[in-house]
Amino acid sequence: MIDVLYFAWVRERIGLPKEQVETSAATVADLIAELSAREERYALAFSDTSALRVAVDQELSEFSAPLKGVREVAFFPPMTGG
């Protein structure tokens, strides 16, 4: 089980801030493909990965990052702090 978190418009498109996902996805990209195949709202949220960022166990990461041993993955748009 992996905790999957969504922020900003990703959260709004998917319709929830957090869920637990039972997955055997090897990488973040595989997880995105798995979720996108699940329902239209995921496919919409993940349609343009160039507009997405990912954090793996609370560290900014790449879509190619492996998920073995990972507890938390978060998807969000480019950050706008400051």
Binding site: L5, F7, A8, W9, A55, Q58, E59, L60, E72, A74, F76, P77, P78, M79, T80, G81, G82
Partner: protein, 147 residues
């Protein structure tokens, strides 16, 4: 080094006075204050979302990187989240060093990183609707200066 992520209003003057007080090693303090600005003329408020489990640690990592690159005696970052009215303070950065160049450059570096790498997302609520603020290409360009 101090990092605070909070919803509450804070007093930038009091923070800066406290930050600079009682030091014998510091010859320069630089501070930056970010304020909610109304570009469209109809902004009601800004809503700032963040990633609570990650925000403080991500900023602490930026501050640690700044202390490797410059000779800093101290640094302070306070960043708010939640609803903020026009004119309210969003965040502040202060750096303290023996000499001003280190303080200026470290503060500039921290601001560039906070803009694009701290997990905050701004949403504008106007009289005609709401929209997420898009990240700007020039903010990424600004980061490239430091690599």
């Amino acid at each position: 080094m101090t990092v605070r992520v909070q919803g509450e209003v804070f007093d930038t003057g009091a923070e800066l006075t406290g930050f600079a007080a009682n030091r014998r090693d510091v010859g320069a303090v630089v501070s930056f204050t970010g304020i909610v600005r109304d570009d469209s003329g109809d902004l009601e408020r800004l809503e700032i979302e963040h990633y609570p489990a990650m925000t403080a640690s991500a900023i602490e990592a930026m501050v640690a990187e700044a202390t490797v690159r410059w000779k800093l005696e101290d640094a302070l970052v306070i960043h708010r989240h939640g609803p903020l009215a026009v004119g309210e303070v969003i965040m502040m950065v202060a750096t303290a060093a023996r000499h001003r160049k280190d303080a200026f450059e470290a503060a500039d570096f921290l601001m560039d990183y906070l803009k694009s790498r701290a997990p905050f997302w701004k949403k504008e609520v106007t009289t005609s609707g709401t929209s997420w603020v898009d990240a700007k290409d020039e903010d990424e360009d600004a980061l490239a200066r430091w690599s």
